[in-house]
């Protein structure tokens, strides 16, 4: 398989691009593997890659029901950051940032990690204090952060309405200067290609329809392409967690599925340099390399497995966007879509062995699992390989709800659609 580089591109171009080979194989499923990962999204693929590259476990299958990357990895607003407040989140997401910075290199695939800065706007002095508190926690955890005043914000993002007459005047903001975006599809493809090169079988269009059990132990899965056995089965199916776990007999989980919409405008020349979030509502926006404004806001609150949403979120999101950037009002929405969010009861993830023997669970990513992709795979692979959590995911248990150790970053409590 060719290593990607400028040189290989030139060489191939001269030959009319006839010699390129598939980025990953399309193998037939084997009857058994050491580890099966269900879900060919970012987390499933990165788990497979780290199992192979960090733990030497290469006899691995990633089982994906649709085309690779058809889930949330392919439909998110690509924001990558680690500006968290609570320690378990803060150290986990910072590990992710560390991996992001090396990712293109390690995968030999340009995932276009773009550290353009993530700016959260504050609209009251009280909110500035809250952001300062978060910014300080970041600093104490070794994460870069800057508290900006109104002028600094205006200089960074010239289109912003920084006037005092704005409905929610901008007071300042919290900047994580080395956070940013990455190209969502490339992350899936890059991990897939790299895992494939290490021997991982990626089985697309293969749907898990049931689990194989010996007593209470999970020993593999049933799929539309037959039974596949494995000593260990990891579940990383994001929005589909409840339905897949139900196949294994787990009837209830602290998770609800809802739809989150995302939006992209027509391409225009660069107009906004950073990722920017509105602090008086719920809105985040950045500009893709192609020139489209990519933005999103709240989930459509109700439980849903449909990858499409409804009009109120359109109205809410665009209203906030044009309030923040009134010069965007004449720009046009090109496309909108939805993804199914695995909203956990405290807004934080679950990466754990269990809840059944032979099974491992990775879920509860809410709005924010894209940025977690590398660290999630890193920790999940560790948990699967060693049958115990990595220090970074030891708090992301299922038992925390029983014990009262919720990791509630927003403090909104057990109402998943608030997180």
């Amino acid at each position: 398989m060719t290593r990607y580089s400028a040189w290989s591109i030139l060489k191939n171009a001269l030959k009319g691009n006839k010699d390129w080979t598939p980025a990953w194989r399309k193998p037939e499923p084997k009857s058994s593997y050491d580890v099966i990962i269900i879900g060919g999204g970012g987390h499933g693929l990165s788990t497979a890659f780290y199992l192979a590259s960090q733990h030497g476990i290469t006899n691995v299958a990633v089982i994906e029901k649709g085309y690779l990357g058809s889930g949330n990895i392919g439909r998110n607003t690509t924001i990558v950051r680690s500006n968290y407040r609570l320690t378990p989140n803060s150290q986990f997401y910072e590990k992710s940032m560390e991996l992001w910075r090396e990712l293109s290199h390690n995968l030999n695939y340009n995932v276009m990690f773009s550290p353009r800065g993530v700016l959260n706007l504050a609209h009251t002095p009280g909110q500035m204090d809250t952001y300062a508190e978060r910014g300080n926690q970041m600093r104490l955890m070794g994460v870069k952060s800057e508290l900006l005043d109104r002028d600094q914000v205006a200089r960074l993002n010239p289109g912003l309405d920084v006037s005092g007459s704005a409905r929610f005047p901008i007071e300042g903001g919290l900047l994580q200067p080395d956070a940013g975006n990455a190209r969502h599809d490339a992350v899936a493809w890059g991990y897939a290609r790299a895992a494939d090169q290490l021997g991982v079988d990626i089985l697309e269009n293969t749907e898990v329809t049931g689990f194989l059990k010996e007593g209470d132990r999970i020993v593999g899965v049933e799929t539309n392409r037959g039974e596949i056995r494995a000593a260990k089965t990891g579940v990383a199916v994001a929005g589909s967690t409840s339905r897949v776990m139900k196949l294994a007999g787990v009837e209830k989980l602290p998770i609800e599925s809802t739809v989150l919409q995302a939006f992209v405008s027509e391409s225009i020349k660069p107009i906004i340099p950073t990722v920017t979030t509105f602090g008086a509502g719920h809105l985040y926006v950045s500009q893709s390399d192609k020139g489209g404004l990519v933005f999103g806001g709240n989930i459509d609150y109700y439980n849903s497995y449909a990858q499409r949403g409804n009009l109120p979120v359109w109205e809410e999101v665009t209203s906030e966007l044009v309030a923040m950037f009134p010069n965007f009002a004449r720009l046009r929405l090109l496309r909108s879509w939805g993804g199914i969010m695995d909203m956990s009861m405290d807004g934080s993830p679950i990466i754990t062995a269990g809840p059944l023997d032979g099974m491992y669970l990775n879920a509860g990513w809410c709005y924010g699992g894209f940025k977690a992709t590398p660290a999630s795979g890193w920790c999940f692979a560790h948990t699967i390989a060693n049958d115990k959590p990595h220090a970074l995911n030891k708090d992301f248990t299922l038992d925390r709800f029983k014990e009262g150790r919720m990791i509630d970053e927003t403090g909104r409590g057990p109402t998943p659609w608030y997180h």
């Binding site: 580089s5 990953w24 697309e204 990858q307 009009l311």
Partner: protein, 1003 residues
């Protein structure tokens, strides 16, 4: 392309008003058009052929279509704050003084130096970015840095037009509309559906995206009831518009179909004039809810992909015909038609009939029906059957085409037949039904092998397809299917069938099924996605690299992701992929359509919210605060005075002055924003007892009690005082921010959990204005103005509540203290709030009464150790805040059980303390508590929550949450605040700094 205006005579160019000339500019050059022209028809009439540049290679691009499917002809309109990039010239209506610029080119659209992008040629193929720019192969963030550098350059080169840099000065509106039947598309199918539905008495809304409704009738050669189709449509639409049950909306695109028959349509109210009149909106969003819908959106012509097909001059055949018939503009001096179906021939005939020279008709099919052959002969064109165009030439624009033999069944290209000179190739690859709206709901379209097209799949909502959209091509089918769909929609709406009224049609009846030919593979650059420069070779490369799912194909090559969303290119792309995979088209499938149908202004979706994001919530004393120079602070929707700055005073100076005045004398503060809930009923006491963590059952009448509310997970939810006004009547107060949620919480428990309790809950936040009078002189102030009730300690003891009267205003007075001073809260009807305030100010004048704002309010409660929003952050329990005494062990209540979980009782939890600055340095908001010095602060052991300068202690203090804090009074640590660059030595103290035994407030 060197188009020109035809000799306009009766019947030709009906869409334009030949006598009214319009001046406009394109790239600064003056041109003349006619009223009714689109920018595209006017540019074409002026012989302008290159109007834009493509996205990636910056290749010259001409006009490709005549409608909203246009991939090529994107321009920028207006300048300054109204600048609008990426406008489709094919839809832009001409008006006097219109200024248009080409975009994505440097220095000009005819000479674009960015076209060097195409030089690397094959190296710049699909997937290029993923394979390179990874940077030097050394680890250590080098990869990131190298890409970051390249990305900046790439971003600058990408993008199409430039957006405005100032706020859009225009307004947007909304309309909520309800109807029985929504009809989308006012072509023959839509018109007949609307007529039929209206005849049954249905309320109908008929939308069409064009300026002039009529769809294909505007250019149909047929006679309807003996009249030209154009006239017939005009009459019928006028009748419909007169009908009292029918609303006809033109320039209105139905953009999206949402659940339960809810649609978003956007009306372009004032885009066809220079700028909206004063008070007029530019665009209006229609939120339409219907009982059923008829979708009659027609079909979009698709091209055939061939080498050199992106030269300006290559365009869709039916569009070429429409420019001739509707606008009276010839797309070129010599036109060559290239088709795989009968409609191309009719285009040739109709163009020729109107004076356009059609050089050749090239059809991939070996045979065509007789009537089609006759149409060809009528056009006087040279006819090539079993042939294809295999190359084009020209410098920038088209000047000729190579015609070669072609075998339809094998796709083989044979010998060259003839090179003909032409400046326009009108190409027709068949028709794709425009079912975009219906597939937005996610239902998969189904393949029709006969029509070689996808048709709409099943329906979740109540809609019915009609006309070309549903695969019912031809006028006869269009009318009939329109009526049939209307009958079904009427049934959905519970209405009768109405009357049929199909016109008599004279004209050809033809077969719309094309030959299954999508691409002529003869080598050379053949473009599939014209805007994004995706070639047929890119599609094959994606196949080779394993990106074989259509969704992968799209994402890997960006085919169909441009501003046209692949309206004319998706089919060709997936057909080429199907061929590469050796699979039939339906097995390869199609990518998903998503809303909106065409790009939609963000301002229009925001509608009336643009410029008015959310209403402000104001207290009765708002105008007074503003007049007194208060700076107002947004607290949720409320605006509250932050402080009343005297001239030259900073906020900090002002609040310190205000707080000190309260401690030493008396102050008053507007507390009208507190949530207030009227709780009544025989079970009100029991209900409150279950809701609050502390006891409420035994609260005596005329007394208030401070209560804690928990979430069911044991965390603090809200707090406030509740007053027992009568045996069965309470007034509950909540925090300002929590009011709505508390109301929801109470109603949920009343309705869903304990429906047997008789409790009435009413929000009375707006009924009552509230003023707190606080300070050692507070009683003196009240004494001077209260009647009907004493204010002494005996008459109105701490936590007592009394009805009284102040200057004729009926009030409730409660002896409550948030500040720790002697204090009263006085409530009256909101309409009297300002009057009450005035009276109190007057009564307090002698005591130098000082109005105080949020900052002082907060300062006073911090000194007192009272918790508020920042401490009730959703992660704290009553124990954490030292309020364990308020957790009753004698009863169960919401949150009681889960509060018992182990983790809530661990010793190292964050607990409420106060800290005070040791050396006078300022503690700033958002500090963390650490043991180390500034350079090595160490781990965070907690954080400050509410910070202020304490006039009482004359130093900076803060409430804070500290690990095991309750046992750490006296400890010296640091409040570090690196983002604000401070690091302050502090002492941990009890949060009850002022008057810990409560002597002042009880006094």
């Amino acid at each position: 392309m060197s188009g020109f205006r035809l000799n306009l005579r009766d019947g030709l160019g009906r869409a334009v008003d030949h006598d009214s000339k319009i001046n406009f500019t394109f790239d600064g050059k003056n041109y003349e058009g006619r009223k009714g022209d689109t920018l595209a028809s006017a540019l074409m009439a002026n012989g302008v052929s290159i109007v834009a540049r493509s996205f990636k290679y910056h290749r010259p691009r001409g006009i490709f279509s005549a409608g909203s499917e246009e991939p090529n002809a994107l321009v920028t309109v207006h300048s300054g704050p109204r600048t609008e990039p990426n406008i489709r010239a094919t839809e832009l209506e001409l008006y006097e003084g219109l200024e248009v610029k080409s975009q994505n080119r440097w220095p000009s659209v005819n000479l674009d130096l960015m076209a060097v992008n195409q030089l690397p040629g094959k190296a710049f193929s699909a997937g290029f970015y993923y394979k390179t720019f990874m940077g030097p192969s050394r680890p250590g963030h080098k990869a990131t840095q190298f890409w970051w550098f390249c990305e900046q350059l790439i971003r600058r080169a990408a993008g199409l037009g430039k957006g405005a840099s100032q706020a859009d000065p225009d307004k947007y509106g909304r309309m909520n509309a309800f109807c029985d039947v929504l009809v989308v598309g006012a072509g023959p199918a839509g018109i007949s559906a609307a007529e039929r539905a209206a005849s049954a008495g249905a309320k109908v809304i008929l939308c069409d995206e064009s300026a002039v409704a009529g769809g294909s009738l505007l250019s149909s050669p047929e006679l309807l009831d003996g009249e030209p189709a154009f006239d017939w449509a005009e009459e019928r639409l006028a009748e419909l518009a007169e009908h009292e049950n029918v609303t006809v909306l033109t320039r209105t695109t139905v953009q999206s179909m949402f659940d339960d028959n809810t649609y978003l349509a956007v009306e372009r109210v004032a885009d066809h004039i220079k700028r909206p009149a004063k008070h007029q909106v530019r665009q209006r969003a229609w939120n339409i809810r219907c009982k059923s819908a008829v979708i009659a959106t027609g079909a979009i012509e698709r091209p055939i992909v061939f080498a050199g097909n992106d030269r300006p001059g290559v365009m869709l055949a039916d569009s070429a015909r429409r420019y001739v018939v509707e606008f009276g503009v010839s797309p070129g001096k010599a036109v060559c038609v290239f088709t795989n179906n009968d409609t191309g021939w009719l285009a040739a005939r109709d163009m020729a009939k109107n004076g356009v020279i059609v050089e050749a008709i090239v059809d991939v099919r070996k045979d065509v029906p007789d009537n089609i052959r006759a149409a060809g002969e009528e056009s006087r064109a040279e006819i090539f059957l079993g042939a294809a165009i295999t190359a084009t030439n020209g410098f920038q624009s088209l000047s000729g085409a190579q015609i070669s033999e072609f075998t339809e069944t094998s796709g083989e290209v044979g010998r060259k037949l003839k090179k003909i000179g032409c400046d326009c190739i009108a190409v027709s690859g068949g028709w794709s039904p425009a079912f975009h709206l219906t597939s937005q709901q996610g239902e998969k379209p189904v393949w029709d092998a006969e029509l070689q097209a996808f048709l709409p799949g099943g329906a979740i909502s109540a809609w019915h397809g009609a006309g070309a959209m549903a695969g019912k091509f031809g006028l006869r089918h269009a009318f009939r299917s329109g009526e049939e769909a209307a009958v079904k929609a009427l049934a959905d709406a519970g209405l009768g069938e109405g009357d049929s009224d199909v016109p008599r049609i004279e004209g050809d009846e033809i077969d719309y099924a094309p030959a299954p030919v999508f691409e002529i593979n003869s080598g050379g650059k053949a473009f599939v996605d014209l805007q994004h420069d995706v070639t047929s070779e890119d599609v094959r490369l994606a196949h080779r690299e394993g990106f074989i799912s259509v969704e992968h194909l799209k994402r890997y090559t960006t085919l169909g992701m441009a501003t046209d969303q692949g309206k004319t290119s998706n089919m060709s792309g997936l057909a080429i992929m199907a061929e590469a995979r050796g699979k039939p088209i339906p097995e390869v499938g199609t990518t998903r359509f998503r809303p909106p149908y065409t790009p939609t202004a963000l301002g229009a979706i925001a509608g009336e919210s643009y410029g008015h994001l959310a209403s402000e919530r104001l207290t009765p004393m708002h105008d007074w605060h503003v007049a007194e120079g208060a700076n107002m602070y947004a607290n949720g929707p409320w605006l509250r005075p932050e402080s009343y700055n005297r001239s030259g005073e900073s906020v900090e100076q002002a609040y310190i002055r205000e707080a000190a005045a309260v401690r030493k004398g008396v102050g008053l503060v507007d507390v009208s924003t507190l949530g207030k809930i009227d709780v009544q009923g025989p079970d009100a006491a029991e209900f409150l007892n279950r809701i609050y963590s502390n006891g409420f059952a035994k609260l005596p009448v005329d007394k208030a009690r401070y209560g804690l509310m928990l979430r069911e997970d044991g965390m603090l939810f809200d707090d406030g005082t509740t007053w027992r006004l009568e045996e069965n009547r309470y007034l509950m107060t909540t925090t300002t921010a929590g009011a709505g949620q508390v109301m929801d919480h109470l109603e949920y428990h009343r309705d869903v959990v304990w429906p047997d309790l008789k409790v009435a809950l009413t929000s009375v936040s707006d009924e009552w204005a509230g003023v707190a009078v606080a300070g050692p002189k507070a009683r003196n102030v009240l004494k001077g103005c209260v009647s009907d009730c004493g204010v002494s300690n005996e008459d109105l003891p701490f936590m007592g509540v009394q009805k009284a009267n102040i200057a004729g205003i009926p009030v409730w007075i409660a002896r409550l203290s948030f500040s720790g001073e002697m204090a009263y809260e006085v409530y009256c009807g909101a309409g009297w709030g300002q009057e009450l305030w005035n009276v109190l100010m007057k009564a307090g004048k002698r005591f130098n009464i000082t109005p105080y704002g949020l900052e002082a309010l907060s300062t006073l409660r911090i000194e007192k150790g009272h918790v508020a929003g920042p401490e009730l952050n959703g992660r704290t329990t009553p124990y954490d805040l030292g309020l364990g005494g308020m957790v009753s062990s004698k009863k169960n209540f919401v949150g009681a059980t889960l509060l018992k979980r182990d983790a809530f009782h661990e010793e190292d939890r964050l607990q409420l303390v106060a800290i005070k600055s040791i050396d006078g340095q300022r503690i700033r908001g958002g500090s963390h508590l650490v043991k180390g010095n500034k350079d090595e602060p160490g781990r965070s052991e907690g954080n400050t929550t509410s910070t202020c300068f304490s006039p009482e202690l004359e130093c900076y203090i803060s409430l804070a949450m500290l690990e095991g804090g309750a046992a750490r009074y006296g400890e010296k640590i640091y409040a570090t605040n690196p983002v604000r660059d401070c690091h302050v030595a502090v002492e941990v103290v009890s949060p009850h700094i002022v008057d810990p035994d409560g002597g002042r407030m009880h006094g």
